[in-house]
Amino acid sequence: MPPEHARGRFVVREAPRLAPMSALSRDDVAHLAGLARIDLSDAELDRMVGELGVILESVAKVQEVAADEIEPMSHPLPLTNVTRPDEVRPSLGAEAALAAAPEKEQQRFSVPRILDED
């Protein structure tokens, strides 16, 4: 539970800053791929270690210049209150929704066991 709430504007409290990056390991990438259920070949893993490394370095550079008085930005456009009216629009339909599901049963998405056995 959040410790307290903001009054009015966002207060930087636990801004999601990345720690100065130690290099991403191949194991890290394999772990993340597993969490995201993305099947990567060895060659792809090697490539992703390099590409993600570049992204992390770039973010680290931004953090070098981001001083405390600069508020973190969550959206590039200065917009507020973008809403839609409460009107029903067509859904996909169950058949289309389930078409890409690896497993389905009783018109539901079938997922592997959620809790490991004790």
């Binding site: 539970m1 959040p2 307290e4 709430h5 903001a6 009054r7 009015g8 504007r9 966002f10 207060v11 409290r13 636990e14 999601p16 969490l35 973190p72 969550s74 959206h75 456009l77 917009l79 507020t80 209150n81 973008v82 809403t83 839609r84 009216p85 409460d86 009107e87 029903v88 629009r89 067509p90 859904s91 996909l92 339909g93 169950a94 929704a97 389930l98 497993e103 049963e105 009783q106 018109q107 539901r108 998405f109 079938s110 997922v111 592997p112 066991r113 959620i114 809790l115 056995e117 004790d118």
Partner: protein, 511 residues
């Protein structure tokens, strides 16, 4: 991790627990809004639709889908905040609450973190003895509901031991408002009652606002109850200076009665652990309606690191002060004032009104009277037969499928002299059993008072003749003796007579 099969835990007597410990509660209520569409997409929200028939790329979290906020949901959130005497944020954002669990296909729930739309409010709650307890509100924020899982392969449909699970995402994305109280202190042994009264008052408020169906049994209003105990203050110490104990969070509390029972149970369970000198484990507990106990769920641990960050796909919500004031103008009258007005209109005594409140039937009676019932008739059924049943079965009065229109119709049938009281009860049984509206049930079951005065008169004569001694007593002025004769007449008429009319006839004949 233990499961529901664990043996019952030790508890201590409730009053004893309260002698040594001071309970502190925190209540989190999730309310599903009754908007036509979901929080971030145009999918319909109707309850009970075919599995996965109300889903789209946004609520399925498909790549490239962009959420857009439901305008009405924001308005409802602000109205709820205002009704709870909260301040409304001038600017706030949504945040991603990241977790890996298949009930949210996005792998995060779009919620609000440290910028809730409403904060710092209160709700005054009237207790059974007529006193008021002020519940301080920490925050009310916007988020979305999750999908529903069916666990397959386990013994009892539980997640433990299940082989795999089936997920229906119709509910995923339905607008939710989470209302969080500050720690509720000072309630003492009335803590369980305060918890029940708060959820009841909140339900009444939300219903009056018209923002939710507030059906606890269908999950559109859900309560998580946090309970902790701390030692009673000693000597000059103020109770407020005693640090709070470790809390447990009981989930799956789906009726007002369960809220009260669950809090009470946790107090007695905590006390037993503390008495032994052991420590409370901070964990989630599951409430079991049937056995009246809680069992251990998951321990709160690193898994609770949700890596919140501002939602980049949504822009901030910044309600103008004009909008807020416009919405304030749409608030219904405060529940306290409303109750006083209704009590006056209906001519109920304080005690009668309290019964009505305890049965959670204020709005139901209002609708029943609007549908044509007398206030006395409406009260009689909702707080009588239906409340009694609800209490016995541990349900709420709305769960029987009986509507205000039904009760108004039943009341009319009695007033028109078609049914007597015991027949009306049978008709109500039929309505509860799903046999239709009262008139249909009465027709189908052949329930109708005999309007044939000749038949009634004949029965009266027969009974007087057969009970000469009793009849003489009545002639001698012992009017209460007529009761026995009325009973005989009703028996003679197989219950299908108007007892009032029978009484009149008997007294007339024996005067």
């Amino acid at each position: 991790m233990s499961s529901a099969t664990s043996v019952a835990e030790e508890i201590v007597d409730y009053d004893e627990a309260l002698e040594r410990y001071d309970p502190v509660m925190g209540l989190e209520v999730h309310v599903e809004l009754n908007t036509a569409t979901k929080m971030f997409c145009g999918c319909a929200t109707g309850f009970g639709a075919d599995p996965n028939s109300q889903v789209c790329p946004v609520c399925l979290g498909l790549p490239g889908a962009l959420p857009v906020v439901n305008e009405k949901a924001v308005e409802s959130a602000i109205r709820i905040g205002l009704a709870l005497n909260c301040e409304i944020a001038e600017w706030c954002r949504f945040a991603r609450k990241n977790y890996f669990y298949p009930d949210m296909p996005k792998n995060f729930q779009t919620s609000q973190y440290d910028e809730p739309i409403a904060f710092e409010g209160h709700l005054d709650v009237e207790l059974g003895d007529g006193t008021t307890y002020r519940v301080e509100i920490e925050r009310a924020h916007m988020e979305e509901d999750t999908g529903k899982s069916l666990h397959i392969g386990g013994a009892t449909g539980r997640i433990h031991g299940a082989d795999h699970s089936l997920v229906d995402y119709n509910r995923a994305g339905i607008p939710l408002i989470e209302i969080v109280t500050k720690p509720l202190t000072g309630a003492g042994k009335r803590a369980p009652e305060v918890a029940k009264a708060y959820v009841g008052a909140l339900r009444e408020l939300l219903r009056a606002l018209g923002v939710s169906d507030v059906k606890m049994e269908q999950g559109s209003l859900r309560c998580d109850a946090n309970v902790s105990l701390r030692p009673r203050a000693t000597g000059d110490q103020s109770q407020d200076d005693v640090p709070l104990g470790t809390r447990t969070e009981t989930k799956n509390v789906n009726s007002l009665r369960s809220v009260e029972r669950a809090v009470r149970y946790e107090i007695t369970r905590h006390a037993a652990i503390l008495d032994r000198g052991d420590k409370i484990t901070q964990e989630t507990r599951h409430w079991h309606e049937d056995t009246g106990v809680t069992t251990s769920g998951r321990e709160k641990s690193d898994a609770e690191d949700y890596r919140y960050f501002p939602e980049p796909d949504l822009v901030p919500v910044a309600p103008t002060r004009e909008t807020v004031e416009m919405l304030r103008g749409t608030l219904p009258e405060a529940p306290g004032e409303r109750r006083r007005r209704l009590q006056n209109d209906w001519g109920y005594s304080d005690l009668e009104m309290r019964d009505v409140m305890n049965a959670g039937a204020v709005a139901l009676i209002e609708e029943t009277v609007a549908a044509g019932a007398t206030p006395a008739g409406a009260r009689k059924w909702w707080t009588g037969e239906l409340a009694r049943r609800a209490n016995v079965e541990g349900r709420s009065v709305e769960e029987f499928g009986v509507t205000p229109a039904h009760i108004a119709e039943l009341d009319r049938l009695v007033r028109d002299g078609r049914l007597n009281d015991s027949m009306a009860r049978q008709v109500l049984e039929g309505v509860i059993a799903g046999e239709g509206a009262p008139t249909e049930v009465a027709d189908a079951r052949g329930l109708e008072l005999v309007q044939d005065d000749g038949a009634l008169e004949a029965a009266v004569d027969k009974v007087i003749e057969a009970n000469a001694e009793v009849a003489q007593k009545v002639r001698d002025g012992k009017v209460q003796a007529a009761g026995a004769l009325i009973g005989q007449v009703m028996k003679e008429m197989k219950g299908q007579a108007d007892a009032g009319k029978a009484r009149e006839l008997i007294l007339a004949k024996l005067s």
